[in-house]
């Protein structure tokens, strides 16, 4: 059992950026001399070879399958066959919506060591140790995998930096057994942009979360956002409750606030999916009454206090 196998992810002809972050994660878990291979699965896998030819990769494994877009049983079948042939000691995949759909099934069927949402992975005295969050990210949890010859780790996005230097890895084609999948992907549907707002282009966003307590309070924050020149956004529970339209939701499953540079989060505790969607923002200010809220872990500035008092005082200054 040797070598690190990375399974890259693609969607609609584009490589998912988390895929190449795993190349850096691989360096911490490989034993000396272990090769690092990165597999890409798709109807035209060769198209991704240039974007995977990065420093730290010894081999790119192109796996051609019938399914154009993600299908859990197709990916499971291909990765299981590759694991059977290569017998890697570690398999790294992105912790993502697609991997939610197949990772646990693969681990259960093959009897792999397994952990998800891993943000640190290392060898301690030769043993593989992975670190993840527990109790809503309030604690860090170190796990190991006694007696497992192959361990599958789903790695959190943004936990590792992708390599910048290119390289010329060996290219291998791998023949995956045909899978008779029991689900059939149909089409993609874009979330409507919303008639009045463009979260994707907003540079300054004021977001409200569960901490506002009731729908009647939304108005005062809308007014505050206008006064300070921010676009009003919200966390998932606010959109799910219908207090603001879904188009205003930011975070991993909401609109990607890719242009955002200043982000003020009021009463947002910071569910991991929310934080993952906002980590790129250079200045995050978190206002929360709970000093232990996980959003303080990614914020540049933290205000521990009552969001209504701070909001009222702030309003007076504009």
């Amino acid at each position: 059992m040797s070598g690190v196998l990375i399974v890259a992810e693609q969607r609609r002809g584009e490589l998912r950026p988390q895929s190449v972050e795993l190349i850096t994660a691989a360096q911490g878990v490989r034993r000396e001399g272990d090769p690092v291979s990165i597999a890409i699965i798709g109807a035209a896998p060769d198209a991704f070879i240039p974007s995977l030819s990065l420093a730290g990769v010894d081999e790119i494994v192109a796996i051609k399958v019938a399914a154009v877009e993600f299908d859990p049983e197709t990916v499971e079948g291909a990765v299981a066959a590759l694991i059977a042939q290569r017998k890697p000691s570690v398999v790294l995949i992105p912790h993502s919506v697609d991997s939610f759909g197949y990772a646990a099934a693969l681990a259960a069927k093959l009897g792999l060591g397994f952990a998800t949402d891993v943000f640190r992975a290392q060898r301690i005295d030769g043993e593989l140790v992975a670190t993840r969050g527990g109790y809503g990210q309030k604690v860090a949890v170190e796990v190991d995998f006694p007696g497992r010859s192959t361990v599958l780790l789903a790695v959190r996005g943004n936990a590792f930096k992708a390599p910048e230097q290119t390289a010329a890895p060996r290219i291998t084609a791998f023949e995956a057994p045909a899978t008779a999948s029991r689900s059939q992907a149909r089409e993609f549907i874009e979330l409507p942009a919303g008639d009045d707002v463009d979260m994707t282009g907003a540079e300054f966003i004021l977001t409200i979360g569960r901490g506002i307590g009731e729908e009647a309070k939304v108005g005062q924050f809308r007014e505050l956002a206008d006064a300070i020149g921010a676009t009003l956004g919200c966390s998932r529970p606010i959109a799910d409750a219908g207090w603001l339209p879904k188009s205003r939701q930011v975070g991993q499953s909401g609109k990607t606030a890719s242009a955002c540079k200043l982000y003020i989060a009021m009463g947002v505790s910071g569910a991991i999916q929310h934080l993952a969607g906002m980590k790129h923002v250079s200045t995050i200010v978190a206002v929360n009454s709970d000093a232990n809220a996980s959003i303080f872990g990614v914020a540049k500035y933290g205000i521990v206090g009552d969001i209504f008092e701070v909001a009222n005082e702030l309003r007076r200054l504009f």
Partner: protein, 266 residues
């Protein structure tokens, strides 16, 4: 026809919590327990399907845990589940999602439902694994992060939308029976009425042992798990610079940050 809904009693932590003496978990005295938020949505989805169905549907809530888990199962009964099943044996202590999935799959074989729902993930340990691993042990079709579902009880297929990253949805058709993990926001979970809470208190909770499910101690606990906790510890506090003072002073500093940004971007 049955819909099996797997639910979990999750633990949030008290503000000032302490670790257990062995350092491998938090002292359970500091747990605030409740029904996992995602499971509230998957239960509601099952109850909605039952209510819309012209043929009889039984919604069966199942959880793996000791007797204090009855509390969340009663909540499920009050919100519309017809039956509640709890599986426990001391050997299950320390199980990871893979071991729990093995137990849930055994319950599913026992109940033979037309569909199994689970939450996408739990709010405490957030593995996002139990439902999909259950599908693997059953060898059933499966899909994760379902945010819209069109399914008629007894139908051979269902159509759903997966909620992807960045505001994108993916429509998929799947063969049934299947295991689906349900995303927040797929519906609006109901509140239990006082009357239904009272009725739920009188309903039985069926308790099964490992033997009832033809499982052994080796299938669960550390032996049946794919990972083992070495230790838990307080994470790095992060890099946030705390803005001190009363609300007025804090707001003044925040206003300065906003003005500086506007000056920069103007």
């Amino acid at each position: 026809m049955k819909i099996l809904v797997a639910v979990k009693q999750v633990a949030a932590l008290d503000e000032d919590f302490e670790f257990r003496d062995d350092g491998r978990d938090v002292d359970p005295d500091f747990f605030i327990r409740d029904l996992n938020e995602w499971d509230d949505f998957s239960l509601e989805e099952a109850v909605k399907i039952k209510e819309a169905s012209s043929t009889p549907v039984d919604v069966v809530a199942v959880s793996v845990g000791p007797d204090d888990v009855d509390e969340v199962l009663r909540k499920c009964l009050a919100k519309g589940a017809d039956r509640a099943v709890r599986v426990w044996d001391d050997a299950i202590e320390g199980s990871d999602p893979i071991a729990i999935a093995r137990v849930l799959a055994a319950v599913a074989k026992h109940e033979a439902p037309g569909m199994v729902f689970a939450g996408v993930q739990s709010s405490d340990q957030s593995f996002a694994s139990t439902g999909i691993a259950t599908a693997a042990f059953l060898d059933w079709p499966h899909a994760a992060v379902v945010s819209a579902l069109n399914y008629a009880p007894g139908a051979k297929t269902a159509v759903f939308r997966r909620e992807l990253e960045g505001g994108l949805l993916h429509e998929v058709e799947i063969q049934c029976p299947a295991v689906l993990t349900i995303q927040l926001g797929i519906n609006t979970p109901r509140y239990a009425s006082l009357r239904s809470i009272k009725q739920a208190a009188a309903k039985p909770i069926e308790v099964l042992s490992l033997t009832d499910l033809s499982l052994s101690a080796a299938d669960v606990g550390e032996a049946g798990s794919a990972s083992r906790v070495r230790r838990m510890y307080m994470p790095d506090k992060g890099r946030a610079e705390l803005i001190e003072g009363d609300a007025a002073a804090q707001a003044e500093r925040l206003a300065a940050i906003i003005r500086e940004f506007k000056g920069d971007s103007a």
